[in-house]
């Protein structure tokens, strides 16, 4: 018997292995790469015809979306609320004749089982009274009101009125009530109304951040801090649950359970809420859900087939608590939606998904409804796919990709993010794709070791494309355009850039525009400063010295290193003078430290003329953007504001990829970067840059009481404790910015990660006082020599 059992088990095991092996083969095919999907979600956009500027309290049931819109009436100065019902199937919108009085506003809405709206309202009541009157009122009314007054608390305004001959004080109080009302969705009539102010006790700043209902129609209200109130449908308080930490989210599942999202010992946690014990339970294992908790903008809805429907910054997915499985429905990008615009989402009874979109682009915010229908691949015009590979995706590029996808009828761009838990594994994945020929068509160069990939021929030269399309190199800020040039070939384009630099007083720097380490060390010694930076540590000073200067210690041509030379040892010894840990308790502001010559440098960016104006205001005298020490004395570095775009040499759709890249070089795009306010970067095209400068130099005026035009500040900037109003820039200021821009030649990715690791490891021992500078330098020399040998 035993033997037979054994046999059976062996066979089962063997069988399991074969099955799982087979399964693996099938599983492999499921990988998204290159595999054609069976179906696609096809979006359909509808404009919402409403007058309201802002929509809140959106709830949906049976393909009806109920939403409460507010519109600001300029003439009366009152905000008017309207309740809408939108029919998803028939694309019709109707107003439900429900009106709140002027002092009421809708906080949140829910739907009950009967299909009526449960609204949590806030109502202000102005109480104008003499002290006495309050007393009278208080004694007359029930004690509920007294309670409410306590709750209302601070809305007391003392007002002095002159009435006749008498002068008496009258106080105006805002009594602040919270009500739960039931509104019929059919005709907007209020069917029920309960004052629930008392539920929240003394919680004076109460605002219902999250609301949810469970299977028994109890209502859970969280203030977003650490308190959750539970009431039943009749407004009776059932429980008040206090937590140790802030609530980051509260939602109900399809099963009617309530869950809380909050921070715990292991990061974000999901914990169930149990009404019977009036407690929240222990964190449940919800890996499928938490895995994506790094995506921001998460919203949870009750699912139709699974527990939850979740919308986040990337896409829409369903999640089931019992299986702990998350299923991706679609990426917002795939349905041409910018995830920033999504304000609510849901599923219709026929399986389609909808999203309420808020388009911030124009002056007038507009609302759209997008309906996503699952369509078999055979019925969809499948466009050719262009893959955009990147470590991270900025909103700027997202917007451009959506625009491209909407306009191009032949291609659509999909984003492939090499973003995992750590940087190295993302890079490893990218390398793998390169080696196996799955290279993305368009590549975001920022955060990549450009030189290494370029030397392997990963990128396509863009000059021939520019030439063919008549794009003149001279029309662009040349030193920035050529930042990613290598032996006469252009491999990447930075549509928008800023300059990374370090600022020093010109009186200290003299007539230098840059410096070598030697010069810098001399200046630092002579000027008698306390520190190089405000909170400069040994490491930060050390890295400032070598960051842009590795070429001085490594000769790639001959494969020699000079880390054990005197220069490097000097740097080490210099850096060691500074504190190991900066003293952050020192609160003297940077501006005063600079004025008193306690601090030599301010590491900064130059991303707009306004920023320059602020800097020069803060220094109070002429400044030099001297940047990082460098053997050639060229210390300023070019940084892309968002991304730097390249085309893969192995791509089969280079022309299409170029169409996308070209868009960033167009007048339309470049002029769009010109902005009244600082835009975190300069446009690449000279004409656009000039427009920007012109705008910076154009003063703005206001009319004073005498009708005279007086120049008004365009904006104001602050740094630490320093505040400055920015007026129109002078020509000299703009010229100074021009000079800074022109001085930069390289991008800021000069230190290789491997080298940085070696240097940090070894210098750490030196800065801890374990070894002498010479010993440290010798070891660094020894280890880096291997690296250099390997790569020469």
């Amino acid at each position: 018997m035993k033997k037979r059992m054994k046999k059976i088990i062996t066979f089962i095991l063997a069988g399991a292995m074969i099955v799982s092996l087979a399964g693996c083969g099938g599983g492999g095919a499921d990988k998204p790469q290159e595999i054609k999907k069976d179906f696609y979600y096809v979006p359909e956009n509808r404009k919402l015809d409403i007058n309201s500027n802002y929509i809140e309290g959106v709830v949906a049931k049976d393909d009806q979306i109920y939403m409460y819109g507010n519109s600001w009436d300029e003439k009366s100065g009152i905000s008017v609320g309207t309740l809408y019902c939108y029919d998803l199937v028939n694309d019709t919108i109707k107003e439900i004749p429900f009106k709140t009085d002027d002092n009421s506003s809708v906080y949140k809405m829910l739907l009950n089982k009967a299909g009526n709206l449960m609204m949590i309202l806030q109502r202000y009541e102005e109480v104008i009274s003499e002290e006495k009157m309050i007393d009278v009122e208080a004694s007359e009314e029930s004690d509920e009101i007294v309670y409410a007054q306590e709750a209302a608390g601070e809305g007391v305004v003392a007002e002095t009125t002159i009435g006749g001959d008498d002068l008496y004080t009258e106080s105006v109080e805002f009594n602040h009530y919270i009500e739960l009302i039931e509104v019929s969705t059919a005709d907007g009539s209020v069917m029920n109304s309960v004052d629930i102010t008392a539920v929240f006790g003394n919680n004076q700043d109460f605002y219902p951040q999250y609301v949810a209902t469970d299977a028994n129609e109890n209502i859970y209200i969280s203030d977003g801090n650490s308190c959750i109130y539970v009431i039943d449908a009749g407004g009776n308080k059932l429980a008040e649950i206090t937590l140790d930490d802030w609530v980051d989210g509260m939602f109900s599942s399809k099963e009617g359970d309530i869950y809380i999202k909050m921070w715990g010992a292991e990061g974000e946690e999901i914990r169930p809420l149990d009404l019977n014990s009036k407690k929240i339970g222990n964190a449940i294992s919800a890996k499928g859900l938490l895995e994506r908790s790094n995506h921001y903008n998460q919203r949870y809805y009750e699912g139709m087939e699974s527990s939850l429907l979740v919308s986040d910054s990337t896409g829409l997915f369903t999640y089931d608590f019992t299986t702990d499985v998350a299923n991706d429905m679609f990426d917002w990008l795939d349905v041409d939606i910018n995830s920033d615009d999504v304000s609510e989402a849901g599923q219709m009874s026929d399986g389609r998904y909808w999203a309420l979109l808020h388009d911030y682009m124009g002056d007038e915010a507009e609302y759209y409804i997008a309906i996503m229908k699952k369509t078999p691949a055979s019925e969809v015009v499948i466009k050719e796919e262009l893959v955009y590979g990147t470590i991270w995706t900025s909103q700027e590029i997202r917007k451009n990709i959506i625009d491209f996808n909407k306009t191009s009828d032949k291609y659509r761009i999909t984003v492939k993010e090499y973003q995992t838990d750590d940087y190295t594994s993302g890079i490893a994945q990218f390398n793998n794709d390169l080696a196996s020929g799955n290279c993305p068509d368009i590549i975001n160069l920022s955060n990549l070791d450009f030189a290494r990939y370029a030397s392997k021929g990963v990128f396509e030269d863009l000059y021939p494309y520019m030439e063919k399309d008549g794009i003149q190199k001279e029309d662009y800020v040349e030193n920035v355009l050529t930042a990613y040039e290598m032996s006469g070939k252009l491999y990447g384009i930075i549509p928008q850039f800023y300059i990374h630099s370090a600022a020093v007083k010109s009186s200290i720097a003299g007539d230098r525009t840059g410096w070598t380490v030697k010069e810098m060390l001399e200046v630092a010694k002579e000027s008698g400063i306390e520190n190089i930076f405000q909170y400069g540590s040994r490491m930060s000073v050390f890295y400032y010295c070598i960051y842009n200067n590795m070429d001085e210690y490594i000769d790639w041509e001959t494969g020699e290193c000079f880390f054990n030379g005197e220069d490097f040892i000097n740097v080490l010894e210099f850096a060691a003078q500074f504190p190991e840990e900066p003293d952050y308790s020192d609160e003297e502001s940077i501006s005063s430290k600079i004025h008193e010559n306690k601090v030599l440098l301010l590491e900064t960016s130059v991303s707009s003329v306004q920023e320059y104006q602020m800097m020069s205001g803060m220094f109070g005298e002429e400044i030099t953007f001297i940047g990082y020490p460098n053997s050639e004395g060229k210390g300023n570095l070019i940084q892309p504001t968002n991304e730097c775009i390249a085309i893969a040499a192995k791509s089969e759709k280079k022309e299409a990829a170029w169409e996308f890249v070209k868009g960033f070089m167009s007048d339309e795009y470049q002029d769009g970067l010109v902005s009244e306010h600082a835009n975190w970067g300069f446009p690449l095209k000279k004409s656009a840059l000039e427009k920007q400068f012109e705008m910076d130099m154009t003063p703005s005026y206001y009319e004073d009481m005498d009708g005279k035009q007086v120049e008004s500040p365009k904006t104001s900037w602050g740094y630490d404790d320093f505040q400055i109003d920015i007026y129109a820039a002078k020509k000299e200021e703009v010229d100074a910015v021009r000079k800074v821009i022109a001085s930069a030649e390289r991008t800021a990715t000069s230190i290789n990660e491997e080298l940085a690791t070696i240097i940090t490891e070894e210098t750490d021992a030196y800065f801890k006082g374990q070894k002498s500078a010479k010993e440290t330098a010798d070891i660094i020399q020894n280890r880096i020599q291997i690296y250099v040998n390997e790569n020469s």
């Binding site: 095991l13 063997a14 292995m17 693996c24 083969g25 599983g27 492999g28 095919a29 990988k31 010992a265 292991e266 995992t420 838990d421 750590d422 594994s425 993302g426 490893a428 994945q429 793998n432 196996s436 490891e761 750490d764 801890k768 374990q770």
Partner: protein, 308 residues
């Protein structure tokens, strides 16, 4: 005659004394070696009973990153202690109860190693039988290739491994570790060597009795190889329990990494817990060793020659 015996007795006495001195010296040398051999293991275990603060005070010099949380005292020198100042189970409490991450990684190790051990033996049993029966020139050649593959350093097979995993779309899944592990020639080599010692006469006798190959394999070979299989399983287990390079290269998802990889990176993080985690990780192989030492020794003994 009398003197002769006296001399003989004297001689043997002298010999015995010399023998005794010899044994004493040998024992002492062995004892010294044994202490040196055991020290790192014992130190790891004793250090696991230190509190995190004691560790960072003692070894702060060694590990670049000290635990965060304000200024901690770091001794000028590294203090290695056999016995902690205060026996504390705080490391274990944290590892076992407070941060399930470590247990999770431990579980990863188990998931990765156990199937490899089981199925490598499974595949190898068949293969060794194949190599043992009906030997010929071609099989000898193949066996030679197996030996070469077995002896190659991992880095030589790194790119092939990686590329195949990529082709099969198993990169970043556990299969990328499992499959090459299951088909590793190591167990085939050892088991073949053992099986070839089974007297051919036994098999031929069975053949004459009308037994099929499958029956011979199942009823004669396998029962005879029981102890060999146990010892080989132990050897495979140690080898894969110790793996570091494969997961680092073949699985980019840190969540799936075994504890060995995690441990190798631990001095970048929570050094205070490292010793407890290291000790926990040592427990399974040490337990197996204690229970299966004789098998293991036997297994090593079969390896006594490269050629079959």
């Amino acid at each position: 005659m009398k003197t002769d015996t006296a001399i003989y007795i004297k001689r043997t006495k002298k010999k015995r004394r010399r023998q005794f001195v010899k044994v004493l010296i040998a024992t002492m040398i062995a004892a010294i070696f044994a202490t040196l051999f055991l020290m790192p293991i014992i130190l790891t275990i004793t250090n696991s009973f230190m509190s995190a603060s004691e560790i960072s005070a003692n070894y702060g010099q060694v590990f670049a990153t000290t635990d965060t949380g304000g200024k901690t005292f770091i001794a000028e020198r590294v203090n290695l202690k056999f016995i902690p100042d205060m026996v504390s189970f705080s490391q274990y409490i944290t590892v076992l109860l407070k941060s399930p991450d470590y247990l999770f990684k431990f579980w990863n190790s188990v998931i990765l190693v156990v199937p490899i051990v089981a199925f490598q033996i499974f595949v190898a049993a068949g293969a060794s039988y194949g190599f043992t029966r009906c030997q010929g020139r071609i099989k000898e050649m193949i066996f030679f290739i197996y030996i070469i593959l077995m002896l190659m350093p991992y880095q030589v097979t790194l790119v092939p491994n990686y590329l195949v995993s990529d082709w099969l779309h198993i990169l970043d899944t556990r299969w990328a570790i499992w499959l090459p592990g299951i088909f590793s020639p190591f167990a085939v080599f050892l088991l073949t060597k053992y099986m070839r010692r089974i007297p051919t006469a036994m098999i031929e006798a069975a053949q004459i009795d009308g037994a099929g190959e499958w029956q011979i394999f199942k009823s004669i070979c396998m029962p005879l190889c029981k102890s060999a299989i146990t010892s080989i399983a132990i050897l495979i287990f140690i080898d894969y329990w110790n793996m570091v390079e494969q997961p680092l290269i073949l699985m980019s998802d840190v969540e799936m990494h075994p504890l060995s990889v995690f441990l190798s990176k631990i001095n970048e993080g929570e050094v205070g817990l490292a010793f407890a985690v290291a000790t926990i990780y040592m427990v399974p192989p040490l337990l197996i060793f204690l229970y299966g030492e004789d098998y293991l020794v036997e297994g090593i003994t079969y390896q006594g020659g490269i050629k079959g």
